[in-house]
């Protein structure tokens, strides 16, 4: 299967030798306060079809590492440096692997030492004007040793790539059979196995493996002057069986790939023939379904609950958080939503964002963000937890082996209530039923959002009426959450395959979701 030795064997080599490599490096360089090494090997198979015809197949394997070094300068101020590189098959050869790691550590050390010196210079030069550079020490922690296996029935490495080509082509052909209204369609499927190891100078050695299988479908439907672009994904931390046979997990079920694509294309065709939403001015009652709420929970709960964003570290890129203006002026312990609304992140659940340890070796745990309307906590890393004066909750994760960990969502969602969704709709005299998320635009501190839906239906005297396309929900976040007056019992998680954050951008997989919710908001058409 793999010609020149197994990249995944490098994990075992580093489990044996990695601590020694780090220890020798730390001993050989003055001022090293901490060093960490992460290595990841990935095997991926993919197939794609366009318009019912084959388009792509691939079988790839890769390996990458990243290292992080903290250096205390002569003044005691700490500088930080990182290096990341893709090294591929070089990882199969221990001597080359060690040489690469040593080179990366040396570069990171030089960067950290330089930063420590410049930081001291700036504080000496500007005095109090640079006082923000005085950082709290990251507390020591207990060392952790663990090995976490992946879950799958069909091993991504022992399949044939033909299976991926076939499953995408079969699905694409079924979409083609829907007729000329489908102007364009792409179906892509992939299955991959990732295995990673984290080692630090404090004695933690954690290895984890993940199987991911994912499919994406993009459809353009056109009927007369009407057109609809729809895009959606399904994915599980499982083998290809979750796409070929569908997945019947309680929280995040999905149909088989062909059914998923045909459903999306059928809906797009129906939407292309539907009128564009022309909503009334002012706020209306909106009932939002779990798929739509997945994007609300992602953009308006998950992102502003990332402590790096809240602590202004993302201010130049992805923005700040409306939950934290400063360490003394923030929403912690205050009402930000209706008492009916709760939201959390939980990496222990069986979703696309599942993991046991983050990329700093901290065990991930459930973090309540909103507890019955009260804002209650952020996702954090070890450094941001120290600033906030709380325990690390294991939320620092990188997208690839060569990336620096950022604070990331796991499975982030609104908690369910007890009301059946049918009852929530039946209680509405006039309003709109908003289904399926499409595209978000969120304000800088996530205090306001406009999110487009795939489908918007009128609700008239408790009954679902006419279907519209090109509708979106606009609201100030706190107002939307505070106006929630019904929470469904139909919690669903949705696989989100493409969350971008960082500089340069890292694209991460996770789950988001919630039950049906009822609130008030403005709607917009085009």
């Amino acid at each position: 299967m793999i010609g020149r030795g197994d990249l995944f064997e490098a994990i075992e080599y580093l489990r044996r030798e990695g601590e020694g490599i780090l220890a020798r490096f730390a001993r050989s360089k003055r001022g090293v306060a901490y060093a960490a090494l992460r290595f990841e090997a990935v095997f991926n198979r993919a197939g794609a079809a366009v318009g019912g015809e084959p388009r792509d197949g691939s079988e790839s394997e890769s390996a990458a590492y990243s290292v992080s070094v903290h250096v205390a300068g002569t003044t005691g101020l700490v500088g930080h440096g990182q290096t990341g590189a893709e090294i591929g098959a070089l990882a199969c050869r221990p001597a080359k692997l060690v040489a690469e790691l040593q080179r990366g550590l040396a570069d990171a050390y030089d960067r950290a030492r330089f930063s420590a010196r410049k930081k001291a210079d700036l504080i000496a030069h500007l005095g109090d004007a640079a006082k923000g550079l005085l950082v709290a020490q990251i507390p020591q922690r207990e060392k952790v040793r663990d090995d976490v296996a992946a879950s799958f029935r069909q091993d991504p490495r022992s399949l044939s790539t033909d299976a991926l080509k076939k499953i995408s082509l079969d699905a694409s052909r079924e979409v083609t059979a829907l007729g000329d209204a489908i102007a364009y369609q792409v179906v892509a499927a992939m299955t991959e196995l990732r295995r990673e190891i984290f080692i630090d100078t404090a004695g933690t050695v954690v290895s984890q493996a993940y199987a991911f299988s994912q499919a994406d479908c993009y459809v353009v439907a056109q009927i007369g002057d009407g057109h609809q672009e729809s895009y959606d994904s399904i994915g599980q931390q499982r083998g290809l069986e979750c796409l070929s046979d569908g997945w019947r997990g309680e929280l995040m079920p999905n149909p088989d790939l062909a059914r998923f694509c045909v459903n999306l294309a059928t809906e797009a065709r129906e939407l292309a023939a539907a009128p564009i939403l022309r909503p009334p001015d002012g706020e209306v009652v909106v009932v939002t379904d779990p798929h739509f709420n997945a994007l609300v929970s992602h953009e308006v709960i998950g992102h502003p609950c990332e402590a790096d964003r809240a602590l202004k570290m993302e201010a130049a890129y992805a923005g700040r958080s409306w939950f934290l203006r400063s360490l003394v002026d923030n929403q912690l312990g205050k009402a930000v939503a209706s008492p009916m609304l709760s939201a959390c992140s939980d990496p222990s659940l069986d979703g696309y964002g599942h993991y046991r340890y983050d990329h700093e070796g901290t065990r991930g745990r459930r973090v309540m963000h909103i507890d019955r309307g009260i804002f209650s906590g952020f996702l954090n890393s070890r450094a941001t937890a120290a600033v906030l004066g709380v325990e690390p909750n294991g939320s620092a994760r990188a997208s690839e082996g060569w990336h620096v960990p950022l604070i990331r969502m796991s499975n982030t969602f609104f908690l369910p209530g007890e009301t059946p969704p049918e009852k929530i709709i039946a209680e509405v005299e006039r309003g709109y039923y908003v289904c399926g998320h499409q595209i978000p635009s969120i304000s800088e501190s996530r205090e306001n959002f406009r999110i487009s839906a795939r489908r918007v239906y009128e609700i008239d005297h408790g009954r679902i009426g006419r279907l519209y396309r090109s509708g979106s929900v606009i609201a100030d976040s706190k107002s939307f959450f505070t106006n929630v007056d019904a929470v469904g019992n139909d919690l669903r998680l949705i696989a989100i395959p493409n969350c971008g954050k960082g500089q340069p951008m890292q694209v991460k997989r996770m789950s988001n979701g919630g039950p049906t919710l009822r609130s008030r908001a403005r709607l917009a058409g085009n």
Binding site: G3, R4, E53, P54, R55, D56, G57, S58, A64, H80, T83, G84, A85, E86, I87, G88, L90, A91, R111, F114, S115, K118, L122, A129, G132, L134, V135, T161, K165, A183, V220, Q228, E229, K312, M313, E314, A315, A316, R325, S326, L327, V328, W402, H403, V404, Q438, S441, S443, E444, E447, N448, R450, S470, S472, D476, S479, Q503, P504, M505, N526
Partner: protein, 514 residues
């Protein structure tokens, strides 16, 4: 990073190996070595911060093979390999490419365009050799300049921001150097030689937020030499802080339709997220272009022209061959308001030209004889460097918008009379899909109220959401700016040089203060 000589030598050796394979009809070897070094700024006056939050580098070296099989020239496969430039790795990649092969009836083969005059290597910049020290020093200079500018205001700052106990000063952004080298060969190339290219540029952006004043100012620079990076670093922090101080305690207008001047950054952002993706052969083939059925027709005001220019003299990005080995040249996209060209890679150009629905997708104004040259086929990764394992896609380089009968910035403001100057927008997306042309975003800083044809008071950051369509901005502007200004868009591979545009009626909805 690997040297060009190493990449070239490996590519020749790989070509020799592939040439001996009897079952291959044609093949391509593409090697890339890329490096992205980033000194990321993070200073907060009231929250402990590291100054340089991440001083890091990302390296990616590797190669990709694409093969077409002799038994069916439409049977094509690809495989890539990181790090290992050995003949063993070529053989392993070849095995995987064979496994991956599919019969794609639209595969057009590999480009056979002659290189013509052998262009000089485009990259003579000292950024190709600049070390960590210069990048880190530039980043700390930005921070030094920002903090010194803020501290200096303590004596004469009318708002007293730096005297208050918790000013909430934030300095963010980064100084980044992106460099890449490629070598490419395919069996259809004339003269049977390996083609090479390299480039290096820097991108520095700084955001200053003073939360106690509810103010945000930004500054940025692009360039292709170390000296320009050093000079930029000395002023960017200072400029961003000064701009933020000038925007203190801004107004929060009520929702309505406004006359608006869009500065260079908003115009670049709208082009990036709404227009450039529509100006590709891929988007026309997919029937998803905002200019569906409008090729050859007016799509913007007749004063506006748009082109992509990989040799733009003021631009930081220099490319002399595409990642498919085709010599680059300027691509005219919109000329005097009419859509005249598209960005394309080799596959998508062929796919659109052979599309049975081409006439409907391009529209009645399209010329009968068409040729979409594949002048924009790049294989890019995060940070816009060339990646060894990416597939060729259509992307721009230096995107330049020019305007005839343009006005000065002062005259643009005067043309608006009463309205809003929008200096920065954020999170711009095609809210109803690309083809609909609808977009939404928020006004995030560097903005002012315009009253009686003059800049009046500042606008609070993040207080308005824009809900508009491309037509509102580009089809019937009140006036257009005289000169293109540089602008970058987060996450975009392109550098933009665009004028300001005054639009007659843009819907802006109030965002509640937090």
């Amino acid at each position: 990073m690997r040297t060009l000589a190493e990449l070239k030598s490996f590519t020749r050796e790989a070509a020799r190996i592939l040439a001996r394979e009897q079952d291959l009809a044609s093949y391509e070897i593409y090697c890339a070595s890329a490096e992205h070094r980033i000194a990321r700024l993070n200073y907060t006056s009231d929250i402990p911060s590291r100054g340089l939050e991440e001083f890091k580098s990302l390296h990616a070296d590797g190669f990709q093979l694409r093969i077409a099989m002799r038994r069916d020239p439409h049977e094509v496969g690809a495989a890539s390999e990181a790090g290992d430039f050995s003949s063993e790795s070529v053989r392993d990649a070849l095995r995987r490419a064979r496994n991956a092969a599919v019969v794609d009836p639209h595969f057009p083969g590999f480009p056979s365009v002659a290189l013509g005059r052998k262009p000089e290597l485009s990259e003579k910049s000292d950024l190709a050799r600049v070390g960590d020290g210069a990048i880190a020093a530039a980043a700390w200079d930005v921070l030094d300049g920002a903090l010194a500018a803020f501290a200096k205001r303590s004596g004469n700052d009318r708002f007293g921001a730096s005297r208050i106990e918790h000013p909430g000063l934030i300095i963010g952004g980064d100084v980044s150097v992106i460099r890449d080298r490629i070598a490419i060969f395919n069996s259809n190339f004339a003269f049977a030689d390996v083609r090479i290219d390299e480039s290096a540029h820097f991108n520095a952006s700084v955001t200053s937020i003073i939360e106690s004043l509810d103010a945000k100012g930004t500054a940025g620079a692009l360039g292709d030499c170390a000296d320009a990076m050093r000079r930029a670093a000395r002023v960017l922090g200072r400029d961003a802080v000064r701009r933020a101080l000038a925007l203190a305690h801004g107004a929060r207008p009520a929702s309505g339709k406004f006359r608006v001047v869009l500065g260079a950054q908003p115009v670049a952002e709208i082009l990036n997220y709404m227009v450039m993706g529509s100006l590709t052969t891929g988007a026309f083939h997919a029937a998803s272009s905002a200019y569906h059925a409008k090729f050859g027709a007016p799509v913007m005001d007749s004063r506006l022209s748009l082109a992509d220019d990989p040799a733009f003299s003021a631009g930081p990005i220099r490319r002399r061959i595409t990642c498919e080995g085709i010599p680059t040249r300027r691509v005219e996209l919109i000329r005097d308001g009419k859509l005249v060209g598209l960005l394309s890679n080799f596959y998508d150009a062929h796919r659109l030209l052979t599309d049975e629905h081409r006439a409907e997708k391009l529209g009645a104004s399209a010329p009968a004889k068409l040729d979409f040259a594949a002048l924009s086929g790049y294989r890019l990764g995060e940070g816009a460097g060339r990646r060894f394992d990416a597939s060729p896609g259509a992307a721009g380089t230096n995107v330049v918008m020019r305007a005839r009968r343009g006005l000065t910035d002062r005259e643009l403001v005067r043309a608006v009379g009463d309205g809003i100057y929008v200096g920065r927008i954020w999170y711009t997306y095609p809210i109803n899909g690309q083809r609909a042309g609808d977009f939404t975003c928020t006004v995030s800083g560097d903005s002012y109220i315009i009253r009686d044809g003059e800049i009046a008071e500042p606008l609070a950051p993040n207080c308005l959401r824009m809900n508009a369509n491309l037509v509102d901005v580009f089809e019937h502007p009140l006036a257009v700016g005289m000169r293109p200004h540089p602008a970058t868009v987060w996450g975009s591979p392109e550098a933009y040089y665009v004028p300001a545009i005054a639009a007659g009626s843009i819907a802006l909805a109030e965002v509640a203060a937090t």
